[in-house]
């Protein structure tokens, strides 16, 4: 039975007004501009885009501002906006080999064509609070190396290893991937659909699961074969010209994880792989994604499924923060009638329990002494 509950309109309106007031903060200070967030809090913006599954830095910055910095709420806002837009095109597969590199490192090979490029990284910082930033110190511009006239090509490192056949190859067999935004997920799920779900998955969740594989719950001996961050051109095919055209470029992060061997009676042992790809600068996310992608290949690679990170349905069904926070948050909705029926049930159970107890007690009172006499 549904019972309509009405009321609270004024309270809700005032609550939202207070929220807006809180968000605005001290009126003596200038209001935070969306452009400033896009510029100065870009890692938050990248995370919002990645988990909302919509690349638009300005809207992600707006969502972040509107959510007062609550990333999960910002992801929800941007994901909701996504549903208002028609799909105009499907891109050609992004060519990460032709990325304009901002960062590119390998933990498996020191000397690589194109070199190890650190980019704007937090690695090697001392994790000491920088009180100069509290004092508003001037920041010098980035250093440049102007003897470099053109970027040296940075070929994908795993392709270099392929010469000896030491690493499994990823070859396109031309299969059209399913799309979880159009086709409801179905288990067991193909790898393409898994990657789509992982790409929008919550970073903290994937990080924890990836970490769990390192601690032994489905160990797969990973090495960061290559991590690259930078700009990749987006190409779509347009019917008007019957041509593939570039419509701009986007920032991407990619992680190629190399893992310990697979092989069979027929196939020689070789390194296996896990893959991570995400919008913006999202290095930790792509590393976690690659670990979990590899863990989810356990069945395909004939490994025992012993850890939570290897259980596809468990991992994938709980990865999306919009789903998760939605279902957890719904507990705040009025459950007055539900709860009332539980109360009635509980009272009845307790009455029955009390009656049974009383019967037992009286039976013991009469039977007990007789037993003692025997």
């Amino acid at each position: 039975m549904y019972v309509a509950v009405k009321g609270g309109e004024q309270a809700i309106a005032n609550a939202h007004r207070w929220l807006a007031d809180r968000r605005r903060g001290d009126r003596d200070r200038p209001e935070l501009e969306v452009a400033q967030i896009g510029d100065q809090l870009r890692l938050a913006v990248d995370r919002v885009m990645s988990e909302a599954s919509l690349y638009d830095p300005e809207l992600a910055a707006l969502a972040f501002k509107q959510a007062s910095g609550d990333l999960t709420e910002a992801v929800f806002l941007l994901r909701a906006y996504r549903t208002t837009l028609p799909r105009l095109a499907v891109s050609e597969p992004l060519d990460t080999a032709n990325m304009r590199i901002e960062r590119r490192i390998s933990a498996t090979y020191k000397d690589i064509p194109g070199g190890q490029i650190l980019g704007p990284t937090y690695d090697y910082t001392h994790r000491l609070l920088d009180f100069l930033q509290l004092a508003g110190a001037e920041v010098p511009p980035a250093e440049t190396r102007d003897d470099v006239t053109d970027a040296e090509p940075c070929p994908p490192i795993l392709e270099l290893l392929n010469d000896e056949g030491l690493v499994e190859q990823e070859v396109d067999d031309g299969r059209e991937p399913s799309d979880i935004t159009r086709d409801p997920p179905d288990y067991p799920m193909e790898r393409a659909a898994r990657l789509q779900m992982l790409a929008r998955g919550d970073e903290g969740y994937l990080l924890a699961l990836g970490y769990s594989t390192q601690r032994g719950y489905g160990r797969n001996h990973p090495f960061a074969g290559e991590i690259r961050l930078g700009q990749v051109e987006v190409e779509i095919h347009v019917d008007e010209w019957d041509e593939t055209i570039c419509v701009g470029e986007i920032a991407l992060s990619e992680c190629q994880m190399i893992n310990q061997f697979g092989g069979s009676r027929e196939a020689a042992p070789q390194f296996t792989r896990g893959y991570g790809l995400a919008f913006g600068h999202n290095e930790r996310k792509t590393m976690a994604m690659a670990l979990v992608d590899r863990a989810l290949r356990a069945e395909e690679l004939g490994e025992p499924i012993s850890g939570p990170a290897q259980q596809a349905e468990f991992v994938l069904a709980h990865a999306d923060s919009v789903d998760a926070s939605g279902f957890v948050s719904h507990l705040k909705l009025p459950h007055y009638v539900d709860f009332q029926s539980e109360l009635d049930l509980l009272r009845r159970l307790r009455r029955e329990h009390a009656t049974r107890q009383a019967e037992l007690d009286s039976a013991r009172d009469t039977a007990g002494p007789q037993q003692e006499e025997r």
Binding site: Y55, I117, D179, L195, E249
Partner: protein, 146 residues
């Protein structure tokens, strides 16, 4: 002056910011009148990645995309696409596409708009590469013993 192909022009204008395009657009002078016959409208493009960078395609996520089609007074059609939600940007690309089809405009468009934008894009990308190159590690080996 060699003509920029339609695809190369679309790419150049999509990779240039609207502000950069508008900074040069005025040099074209009075353009033929045009009207939009489609859009400008914003929707999304679903972006595909490849498993492991080279393997089977998968759907990564979507991005905002804006497209516009314009028609000039004489009936010439032009189309433009650009990532993001900037209607004017898409309209300018479509307009450039239409104008580029008119012989009398080609040279002005090439020299006043496309050439400077191409130079700016190349310079911006060179600067990005030089900034990244400054963070490239030069390894050295410590020699121990004799």
């Amino acid at each position: 002056m060699s003509r920029t192909s339609r695809g190369a022009r679309q790419r150049l204008l999509a990779l240039s910011s609207r502000q950069h395009i508008e900074a040069h657009w005025g040099a074209l002078g009075a353009l033929p009148d045009h009207r939009c016959v489609r859009g400008p409208e914003t929707g999304m493009a679903m972006l595909k990645g490849r498993t492991g960078g080279t393997g089977n395609a998968f759907h990564l996520g979507e991005m905002t995309l804006t497209r516009a089609s314009v028609v000039l007074d004489d009936g010439t059609l032009g189309h433009g696409w650009v990532c993001g939600r900037d209607h004017r940007h898409a309209e300018l690309i479509a307009l450039a596409d239409a104008v580029a089809q008119l012989a009398e405009w080609q040279e002005t468009l090439e020299t006043r708009v496309l050439a400077p934008l191409a130079a700016e894009l190349a310079e911006r990308q060179r600067r990005d590469a030089a900034t990244a190159a400054a963070t490239r590690v030069d390894f050295f080996t410590l020699v121990r013993g004799e």
